[in-house]
C-alpha cells in the first residue's frame, strides 16, 4: 500500500513519505558516464566465452607457458570487448537520448507551485508524487495520476491509450466520486492505494477526506502515463505513481531474449571444438614430453631443471594459447552483427509495408531470425489474424423473420480490404515513450489522430428493402394499422438496442474528438415531433406492460429540455439533411470493439442513429420520430465471463426502465429461456426463439459472427431494489469487481429475445494462398479460435485449410472417458484412411471442452498422436490458456519449432509460449504485438517472412557458422602440424601479429557478408516452391554430419596447405617465417576462395570485401616486413615477405596449394 497526500502538505512525516517514492525522472540507461567501463566490463565477463579468452590472455603472462608477447594475446579479447562495448554504448546512448527527451518534455501542462500559488511549467522529470498536474486537451499524461477535476460538467474525461496499448478508441475516466471542490491548496485528503504494479486494468484504493469519509478509487479514476487527454478542455489530477513506478513503465520489459535452435546447436559444436582443442594440446604435451626425454644434451636446448613431464604440462597450456583460435572468439560477436543486419533487411522489406497503416514489420526479438526458417507448426488465431477483424453487418433476424440483405452481401464480396483506410496506430508507442526507442523518432507530444473502426464498408450498409418498408410504416400515416405492429415494436426495439447498447463514443468532424456531450440535435418542428411522439407513444405503450399515463409529465419535461438545448445551437443544425445519409453531419463512431461499430452503423443505415453520448444520456434519432434523448442509467460493460453487455435506460417514450442486452448467442439464448409473464406472447416468444436459433445456425454455417439482442422491461420497484444493491457494489472498496459482476448477472435474467445479427468478418487477402504455401512447405497449420465450431470450420474451408477432399474428424465429447474412446476411434479411422489412400488428408476439429480432456496428462499422448497424423487441426471454443497449453504441448512433446500468430490479448500467452511469436498489429490493440517477437500487419506477410526471410536467415547463418568453424580449424591445424617438426615446443612459423590478425581482420569480413547477403535461392523461387522450406525444417544446412564433413574438409585443406610448402622447403635454408609465409598466404587464398565456392551469389560487395581482405593481408605483411626492424620478437618479420613476394617460387607454391586444397570442395559442390 502507498499513501499519497498533496505535496503541499506541511506535515513533515508525510513529506518524508512522499520523498521516498520514485520521482518521475526516467532512466532506462544501463550505465552512467562513470560506471560504463566497469559495469560493461563486468557484464561482458559474465559470458563464458569472454572468460575463456581472458583466461588465455592471463595465461600468456605466466612466463613458463607464454607463447607470444603478452600484449599480443590481449588483442583479440580486447577487440571483442571493445566491439561489444561500443555496441552497448551506442544502444545506451540512444536510450539516454530518448530518456533525456522524455524527461525534458516541457509539457504545456502546468504544475501547481507552492510558492507562487499558481500553475507553472515544469519538466516531466520534476514531477513528484503528490503534485497537482493540470493538463489540457491533446496533452500526454506525464505520470499516473488520480483524476480530481475535469472541465467536463459531468466530471468525465476522455483519454486515448494508443501509446500504451495501441487502442485508439477513447476511454472515459471519471473524477473521484463525491469530491468536495478543494483541488490544490485546500486538498487535505489522503489517498491510500496499491503499491506500484503492472496491471493496467486494475487500480484499487480509497481516498480519505478530512471528514474521515472514505471513497473507493478504481481504474476509472486513474489517468495513466503516456496516454493522451482527448475531448476535455482541462483536467487536474494528483500524481500517485511517477517515473519507473508508473504502470506504463512497469509494463515495459524491453526487448526479448530468446535462444534460437541454431544457437543451441552451435553451442554443442563449440564444445566439440573445445574437445578437439584439448586433444590437440594433449597430443602436443605428450609429444613434447617424449621428445624431451629422448634428447640428452643439445645445444639448442636451454639448460633447465624441469622434468620432461612438467615441461609437457607447461606445454599443454602454451598450446592452448597457441591454438586458442580454434574456439571462434569472434563468432558470437559476428553472429550478433549478422542478425542485426538480417533484421535490418527484414525491416526494410517493402513487401512488409502496409500502406494503410503506414507500418513496417517490427522485429522485437533480435536474435531468433534463423528460427523463422525452421518452423514446423504454425498456430494461428482466427479473428483478426486470418480475418480482417473488420466487422461488417451482414444480415439479421428480428422477431423470427430473416432479413438477408442480399445487396449487402454482394457488396462485401467485391470490396477489398485494401481499400480500407484505417489508421490504427498512433505513431507513439509505449516503447518510445518509456524509453526503449528502437528505431523511431521521439514522439511529438501532440499527434494527429484517426478514428478506429470506421471503414467505408462498415458505414455503407445497404438496408434490406423489405425491412425498410416495414420501418417506413412507422413514419407513415398508415402506421396505426394493427396487424404488423407487434413485429414493428420488435424491430424498433431491435434497432434501438443496436444503437444504444454499446460504449461507442460519437464525435463529428466539426468538433474534432469532442463528444457531442449535450443534446444538441434539432427537432424538426415541434408539431411533427409531438405527432410522432404520440404515435410512438401508443406503439411503445403497447409493447410495454407499464401504465400508459404515468410518463406524460416526463415527456413534456424532456421535450422542453430538448428544445432548450436545440435553441442554443440551432444555427448549425438547421440545414441538416436526413440522418444516415452522408452529408454535413458525418458522425464518427469510436468503438471498443469492431462489432459494436458495425452494429451502430447498421442501425444508422436504418436511420436509427446514435447521435451523441454523454455520461447520463444518449441522443438517438429514430425514423420518423426525430431525436430522442434517452436517459442512460447504467452501463454493464462487456466481460468475458458474462459474454454480454447491457445498458439500462429510461425509455424516452414509455419512460420505463429498460434493459437492453446484447451478447453471445449461447448466453443470450439461455437467458431468454423462460420469458416472464406475458402469457399471450409465450407462444410467440417460443416461436421467435426457435426461428432465431435456426437462423443462427445458418449464420454460423455461413461463417458469420452472431450476436443476440434481447431486452427486458423493469418494474420501477424491481429497479429500485436492484439499484440499491448495485450502488452498494459500485461504492464498495473491496471485491468491487466481483460484486459488480454479480449485480449484472442479477439484472440480466428473463430477457425477451428480439433478434440476432450476423456480422461478417472477411478473410484477409491472400490468406488461402499463404496457408496453402505453408502447408506445401511442410508446415502444419493449426487454427485456435474462440469461435463456434461451425464458424471455425467455415473459415477453415474458406482459407483452404480444409480442402474438399479432406476428411473431417470432429471431436466433441462431454466426459473424459468418452474423449479417450473418441481419440482412439479417430486414430483408428485415420490409420484406416492412411491405408486406403482415399483421402488426401485429415482435419481434426476439436472443441474447447474436448480439448480440456485431451490436454490432460493421460490423454495428451493419444491426442498428439492423432493430431500429428492430421494435416490440420482446428480448435474452436478455446480459451487463451488452452491455446498456450496446446502450443506448449506440441512444442515440448513433439520437439518441434512452433510459431504462434495472433492479434489480440487472448493470444498473448500462446505467443509467449511458442518458439517464435508473431503479433498482428491489427484491430485489437497492441498487447499481442507487445509480447511478440515479430509484428506484422497482415497474415499474408507470414508467407514471405517464413519462406523467404526465414529460409535465408537460417541458411545464411548456418553456413556462416559452419564457415567460421571451418576457417578456424583449418588455420589452427596449420600450427598444429608444425608442432611435429619443432619438437612439440609450441613454436609458430608465423609472425604473432599476423597470426592474431588472421582471424580477427584478414578473414573476418567476408563471412559476415556471406551471412548477411548470401542467397542460395532467389526470393521468387522460394515463394514459388514452398517445398524448399523443408530443408530448413530438417536443419539440412547444419546437421551434425555437415559439421563433421566441414571439419574433415578443413583438416584436408590444412594438410595440403601445410605439407605442400613443407615439401617445397624441406631441407632448404628456409627460416621459420620464410617457411610460414607461403603457408599463410595459401591458407588465406584457400579460405577466401572456399567462400566463393560456398556462396551462391556474388555481388560487387562480395568482390570488394574478398579482394579487399586479400589485399589487406598482402599489403599488411609486406609493409610490416619492411618497417618492422626490431619489433615483434621473436618472430621479427623484417624482410621476409618482401623477399618472398619477389620470388616466383612463392607464387608457385601458393597456386598449387590453393588449387589442390579446394579441389574436393569444388568437385563436391557441383
Amino acid at each position: 500500500m502507498r499513501t499519497v497526500v498533496s505535496s503541499l502538505t506541511e506535515d513533515e512525516e508525510l513529506t518524508e513519505i512522499l520523498k521516498s517514492y520514485s520521482s518521475n525522472k526516467v532512466t532506462t540507461t544501463k550505465y552512467s558516464f562513470l560506471s560504463f567501463i566497469p559495469k560493461n566490463l563486468f557484464e561482458q565477463l559474465h559470458r563464458v566465452a569472454n572468460i575463456y579468452f581472458i583466461f588465455l590472455a592471463a595465461l600468456n603472462f605466466v612466463p613458463v607457458v607464454n607463447a607470444f608477447q603478452p600484449e599480443i594475446s590481449i588483442i583479440p579479447i580486447l577487440l571483442v570487448l571493445t566491439v561489444t562495448a561500443v555496441k552497448d554504448l551506442w544502444e545506451d546512448y540512444r536510450r539516454h537520448k530518448s530518456d533525456k527527451f522524455i524527461n525534458g518534455l516541457l509539457s504545456c501542462g502546468l504544475f501547481y507551485h507552492r510558492k507562487q500559488q499558481t500553475y507553472v511549467d515544469q519538466r516531466w522529470q520534476d514531477v513528484h508524487v503528490g503534485d497537482f498536474v493540470r493538463l489540457s486537451c491533446n496533452e500526454i499524461i506525464p505520470a499516473d495520476m488520480l483524476l480530481l477535476y475535469s472541465s467536463d460538467p459531468h466530471g468525465v474525461c476522455y483519454i486515448e491509450t494508443a501509446n500504451l496499448d495501441g487502442e485508439t478508441n477513447l476511454k472515459q475516466r471519471q473524477v473521484v466520486r463525491d469530491l468536495p471542490q478543494q483541488v490544490c491548496e485546500n486538498f487535505h485528503s489522503r489517498i491510500e492505494c496499491e503499491s506500484p504494479n503492472n496491471d493496467l486494468s486494475r487500480f484499487r484504493g480509497y481516498m480519505e477526506y478530512p471528514s474521515k469519509a472514505r471513497v473507493g478509487l478504481h481504474n476509472d479514476n486513474l489517468l495513466l502515463r503516456s496516454c493522451t487527454i482527448r475531448n476535455t478542455e482541462t483536467v487536474i489530477g494528483i500524481v500517485v505513481y511517477a517515473g519507473h513506478e508508473t504502470k506504463a513503465m512497469k509494463n515495459n520489459s524491453g526487448p526479448r531474449y530468446k535462444r534460437s535452435k541454431l544457437e543451441r546447436r552451435l553451442n554443442v559444436d563449440v564444445l566439440w571444438s573445445v574437445v578437439l582443442l584439448v586433444i590437440m594440446c594433449l597430443t602436443a604435451a605428450i609429444g613434447h614430453g617424449l621428445w624431451l626425454r629422448n634428447l640428452k644434451e643439445a645445444s639448442f636446448l636451454i639448460p633447465d631443471t624441469t622434468s620432461p613431464a612438467l615441461s609437457g604440462f607447461y606445454l599443454f597450456w602454451t598450446m592452448i594459447i597457441v591454438l586458442q583460435v580454434l574456439i571462434p572468439i569472434s563468432l558470437y560477436v559476428s553472429i550478433e552483427i549478422v542478425k542485426l543486419c538480417q533484421i535490418f533487411f527484414i525491416q526494410n522489406d517493402v513487401d512488409f509495408y502496409n500502406e494503410y497503416m503506414d507500418s513496417r514489420i517490427q522485429c522485437r526479438a533480435l536474435n531468433i531470425t534463423e528460427d523463422l526458417g525452421q518452423i514446423q507448426y504454425v498456430f494461428s488465431d482466427k479473428t483478426g489474424t486470418l480475418t480482417e477483424n473488420k466487422m461488417v453487418f451482414r444480415r439479421c433476424t428480428i422477431a423470427g423473420v430473416e432479413y438477408p440483405h442480399e445487396e449487402n452481401g454482394e457488396k462485401s464480396k467485391v470490396h477489398f480490404s485494401t481499400q480500407h483506410n484505417i489508421f490504427h496506430q498512433g505513431s507513439v508507442s509505449l516503447h518510445t515513450l518509456t524509453g526503449h526507442s528502437e528505431g523511431e523518432e521521439p514522439p511529438s507530444p501532440t499527434l494527429p489522430q484517426q478514428s478506429a473502426f470506421s471503414s467505408p464498408l462498415e458505414k455503407d450498409i445497404v438496408p434490406d428493402p423489405f425491412l425498410v418498408q416495414k420501418l417506413n410504416s412507422l413514419s407513415s400515416p398508415l402506421f396505426l394499422l394493427k396487424d404488423a405492429s407487434m413485429e414493428l415494436t420488435y424491430i424498433v426495439d431491435f434497432f434501438m438496442a443496436l444503437a444504444i447498447c454499446n460504449t461507442v463514443v460519437v464525435s463529428s468532424p466539426n468538433q474534432p474528438r469532442h463528444v457531442v456531450s449535450n443534446i444538441t440535435s434539432p427537432v424538426c418542428t415541434g408539431q411533427s415531433f409531438s405527432r410522432k411522439l404520440r404515435t410512438g407513444d401508443s406503439e411503445m405503450s403497447r409493447l410495454s406492460t407499464g401504465e400508459h399515463g404515468s410518463w406524460k409529465g416526463e415527456e413534456n419535461k424532456m421535450l422542453h429540455l430538448t428544445l432548450g438545448a436545440c435553441s442554443g445551437l440551432g444555427n448549425s443544425n438547421g440545414a441538416q439533411g436526413p440522418p444516415g445519409e452522408p452529408g454535413a453531419d458525418e458522425l464518427i463512431y469510436e468503438a471498443e470493439s469492431p462489432d459494436e461499430a458495425a452494429l451502430v452503423h447498421a442501425a444508422r443505415a436504418y436511420r436509427c442513429t446514435l447521435q451523441g453520448r454523454s455520461l447520463e444520456s444518449l441522443l438517438v434519432e429514430l425514423p420518423g420520430m426525430g431525436s430522442l434523448a434517452v436517459r442512460l442509467l447504467h452501463i454493464l460493460p462487456f466481460d468475458s465471463t458474462r459474454k454480454r453487455m447491457s445498458v439500462v435506460v429510461r425509455h424516452p417514450l414509455t419512460n420505463q426502465v429498460v434493459v437492453y442486452t446484447k451478447g453471445a448467442d449461447s448466453v443470450i439464448m439461455d437467458l431468454a429461456e423462460s420469458p416472464k409473464g406475458a402469457e399471450q406472447s409465450d407462444g410467440r416468444q417460443g416461436h421467435i426463439r426457435e426461428q432465431t436459433q435456426k437462423h443462427l445456425d445458418n449464420y454460423a454455417r455461413e461463417g458469420l459472427r452472431t450476436l443476440c439482442v434481447a431486452k427486458k422491461v423493469l418494474e420501477e420497484e424491481e429497479y429500485e431494489i436492484w439499484l440499491k444493491r448495485h450502488a452498494f457494489a459500485e461504492t464498495s472498496i473491496e471485491n468491487r469487481e466481483e460484486l459488480l459482476l454479480e449485480s449484472a448477472q442479477r439484472l440480466e435474467t428473463n430477457l425477451t429475445l428480439l433478434g440476432a445479427t450476423g456480422i461478417v468478418d472477411r478473410l484477409q487477402e491472400e490468406v488461402p494462398e499463404t496457408i496453402e504455401a505453408l502447408q506445401r512447405a511442410g508446415v502444419k497449420v493449426w487454427v485456435l479460435t474462440g469461435d463456434k465450431q461451425e464458424t471455425a470450420i467455415n473459415i477453415a474451408c474458406a482459407c483452404k485449410l480444409l480442402r474438399s477432399t479432406d476428411q473431417l474428424l470432429t471431436a466433441n465429447c462431454g466426459s473424459k472417458e468418452a474423449c479417450k474412446a473418441l481419440l482412439l476411434e479417430l486414430r483408428a479411422e485415420v490409420e484406416r484412411g492412411e491405408a486406403a489412400e482415399g483421402t488426401s488428408g485429415f482435419t481434426l476439429v476439436v472443441d474447447g471442452r474436448t480439448l480440456d480432456f485431451a490436454l490432460q496428462e493421460d490423454l495428451k499422448g493419444d491426442f498428439l498422436e492423432l493430431s500429428r497424423r492430421c494435416r490440420a487441426v482446428v480448435c474452436c471454443r478455446s480459451t487463451p490458456l488452452q491455446k498456450s497449453h496446446v502450443v506448449k504441448l506440441v512444442r515440448d512433446q513433439l520437439r518441434v519449432m512452433t510459431l504462434a500468430i495472433g492479434d489480440g490479448a487472448n493470444d498473448v500467452s500462446m505467443i509467449q509460449v511458442a518458439d517464435v511469436g508473431i503479433g498482428i498489429s491489427g484491430q485489437e490493440g497492441m498487447q499481442a504485438v507487445m509480447s511478440s517477437d515479430f509484428a506484422i500487419s497482415r497474415f499474408k506477410h507470414l508467407r514471405k517472412l517464413l519462406l523467404v526471410h526465414g529460409h535465408w536467415c537460417y541458411t545464411r547463418l548456418a553456413n556462416m557458422i559452419l564457415y567460421f568453424f571451418y576457417k578456424n580449424v583449418m588455420y589452427v591445424n596449420l600450427l598444429f602440424w608444425y608442432q611435429f617438426f619443432c619438437g612439440f615446443s609450441g613454436s609458430v612459423m608465423t609472425n604473432s601479429w599476423v597470426l592474431i590478425f588472421f582471424n580477427l581482420l584478414f578473414t573476418s569480413a567476408p563471412p559476415l557478408l556471406y551471412g548477411i547477403l548470401d542467397k542460395d535461392v532467389s526470393a521468387d523461387t522460394l515463394i514459388k516452391l514452398p517445398e524448399l522450406y523443408k530443408s530448413g525444417q530438417n536443419s539440412k544446412a547444419y546437421l551434425p554430419s555437415t559439421f563433421w564433413l566441414t571439419m574433415l574438409d578443413a583438416l584436408y585443406q590444412s594438410l595440403v596447405c601445410f605439407f605442400i610448402p613443407y615439401f617445397a622447403n624441406a631441407g632448404s635454408d628456409a627460416d621459420m617465417l620464410t617457411f610460414g609465409s607461403p603457408i599463410n598466404a595459401s591458407a588465406l587464398l584457400t579460405i577466401l576462395l572456399h567462400q566463393v565456392i560456398e556462396s551462391c551469389t556474388l555481388t560487387w560487395l562480395h568482390v570488394l570485401v574478398l579482394v579487399g581482405s586479400a589485399l589487406f593481408y598482402f599489403s599488411f605483411t609486406l609493409v610490416f616486413s619492411v618497417v618492422c626492424v626490431t619489433c615483434s620478437p621473436p618472430t621479427n618479420p623484417l624482410g621476409v615477405d618482401k623477399l618472398q613476394m619477389s620470388q616466383p617460387l612463392f607464387y608457385g607454391v601458393c597456386a598449387l596449394t590453393t588449387v589442390l586444397a579446394l579441389l574436393p570442395r569444388y568437385i563436391h559442390q557441383q
Binding site: 494527429p448 489522430q449 470506421s454 474528438r513 621459420m1072
Partner: protein, 370 residues
C-alpha cells in the same frame, strides 16, 4: 491534385482538427526505400557450378599446371647438387676421431679431411652450405632466446640484454650477443681443395660475404655506433659462453664483416624452419675470365675444423654444394606435384565430361532455375 487525396483521407476517419493540432507534415512515411540493396536485389553473379563452368575450369587448370610442372621439374633437374655427411659417426669416416672428443670447451681444434669427387662439373656460381639434421633451431624457447635490439646496435640493450636471453644473458658482464641462438653459433670451418689430376691441391676461394639477406645485413643487424673500433664498443660485455672468441673478433680482417654484422653470424641467427636444414656457408664464384666450370669434375678435399658437437642429440653435419636457379635450390617435388595435380584435374575433367554427356540432360532439367 492535392485536394482529392486529402479529402480521401478525411473521409476515412481522419480528422482535420486533430491534424492541425498535431502539426501537419510531421507524419513521416515509414515505407522502406525500394532500393536494390535494401530489397536484397543487388545484381549478383551466381557461381552456379554447372558442367558448363566446371569442366573448362578443370581443363584449364590441367593445361596450365602440367607445363609449369614440367618446367619446374626440368629446372630442378638441371640444378647440380652435391651433399656429403662429415659428422663422423662411423668408425671409417675421417672425422670419427674429432667427433668423439667433442666439447664446447675444447681449446684444441680438431681437423679432418673428407675426400669426395664430383661426377659433373658445376657451372656458374656454386653455393656452399653446411647442413644440420635433428637440430631444432625452431624450438620455441630457443627461438625466443635473442635480443633483436641488441643486435640492432642498441647501446642500452648491449649493456642490459633482454630477459628472453636467460640463461645466456650475462656471465659476469652482459653477454653480447646474448641468448641461446647466438651461443650455439655454428663454428666449424670448412675449406675446399681441388685435387688436380696431377695431384696438387688447389684451394678454392670461398667468398664469405653476400651470403646474408641484404635487409639483415644492412637494417636488422648493426654494430653499436660511436666508435669504429669494435673492441672499444663491446667493452664491458663478455663473449657467449660457448664462443671461443668475442664477437668483435669474428672477422678481424674485414671491419664490414665483423661484430654483429658478421654474415656467418647473421645467417645463423635466422633460425631454420625445420630440424633438418642447411645454411649458406659461402659462395664459390664462377671464374670471370675463362670458360672452365666453377667446380670442374674431379677429386676434392673438404678440410673441416671440427668444433661443433652434434653427437649428443644424434645430429648430423653435412656439406652441400649446389648451383641455384630462379626457383632456388634443387627440389623435384614441386615439379612433380604440379604435374600430378595438373593431370588429376585433366582426368577429372575427362571423367566429368563423360558423365555430363551421359546424364547431362537429366541434370539440367532437374536443376532448379533460380
Amino acid at each position: 491534385m492535392m485536394a482529392p487525396s486529402y479529402n480521401a483521407k478525411e473521409e476515412d476517419g481522419h480528422q482535420p482538427g486533430a491534424t492541425g493540432h498535431g502539426g501537419a507534415g510531421t507524419m513521416t512515411n515509414k515505407k522502406p526505400d525500394n532500393t536494390a540493396f535494401k530489397q536484397q536485389r543487388l545484381p549478383a553473379w551466381q557461381p552456379i557450378l554447372t558442367a558448363g563452368t566446371v569442366l573448362p575450369a578443370f581443363f584449364v587448370i590441367g593445361l596450365i599446371f602440367i607445363p609449369i610442372g614440367v618446367g619446374l621439374f626440368v629446372t630442378s633437374n638441371n640444378i647440380k647438387e652435391f651433399e656429403i655427411d662429415y659428422t663422423g659417426v662411423d668408425m671409417s669416416s675421417p672425422c670419427y676421431n674429432c667427433s668423439q672428443s667433442y666439447s664446447w670447451n675444447n681449446t684444441q681444434s680438431c681437423t679432418c679431411s673428407v675426400h669426395f669427387s664430383l661426377d659433373q662439373p658445376f657451372e656458374s656460381n656454386v653455393f656452399m652450405y653446411y647442413g644440420l639434421s635433428n637440430f631444432y633451431q625452431n624450438h620455441r624457447r630457443y627461438v625466443k632466446s635473442r635480443d633483436d635490439s641488441q643486435l640492432n646496435g642498441d647501446k642500452t640493450s648491449l649493456q642490459s640484454p633482454s630477459k628472453e636471453c636467460e640463461p645466456y644473458r650475462s656471465s659476469d658482464k652482459p653477454i653480447a650477443p646474448c641468448g641461446a641462438i647466438a651461443n650455439s653459433l655454428f663454428n666449424d670451418t670448412l675449406e675446399l681443395y681441388y685435387i688436380d689430376p696431377n695431384g696438387s691441391r688447389t684451394a678454392i676461394p670461398l667468398v664469405k660475404k653476400g651470403i646474408a639477406w641484404w635487409t639483415d645485413k644492412h637494417v636488422k643487424f648493426r654494430n653499436p655506433s660511436g666508435n669504429n673500433n669494435l673492441t672499444v664498443v663491446f667493452q664491458g660485455t663478455s663473449k657467449p659462453v660457448n664462443w671461443r672468441k668475442p664477437v668483435f673478433e669474428l672477422d678481424p680482417l674485414d671491419s664490414d664483416n665483423n661484430g654483429f654484422i658478421n654474415e656467418d653470424f647473421i645467417v645463423w641467427m635466422r633460425t631454420a624452419a625445420l630440424p633438418t636444414f642447411r645454411k649458406l656457408y659461402c659462395i664459390i664464384q664462377k671464374k670471370p675470365n675463362n670458360m672452365t666450370p666453377t667446380l670442374p669434375r674431379g677429386e676434392y678435399i673438404l678440410e673441416v675444423t671440427y668444433n661443433y658437437p652434434v653427437r649428443s642429440f644424434d645430429g648430423r653435419k653435412r656439406m652441400i654444394l649446389s648451383t641455384i636457379s630462379w626457383m632456388g635450390g634443387k627440389n623435384p617435388f614441386l615439379g612433380i606435384a604440379y604435374i600430378t595435380v595438373g593431370s588429376v584435374c585433366f582426368c577429372l575433367g575427362l571423367v566429368l565430361l563423360s558423365i555430363h554427356y551421359r546424364y547431362g540432360k537429366r541434370n539440367n532439367s532437374a536443376e532448379i532455375s533460380s
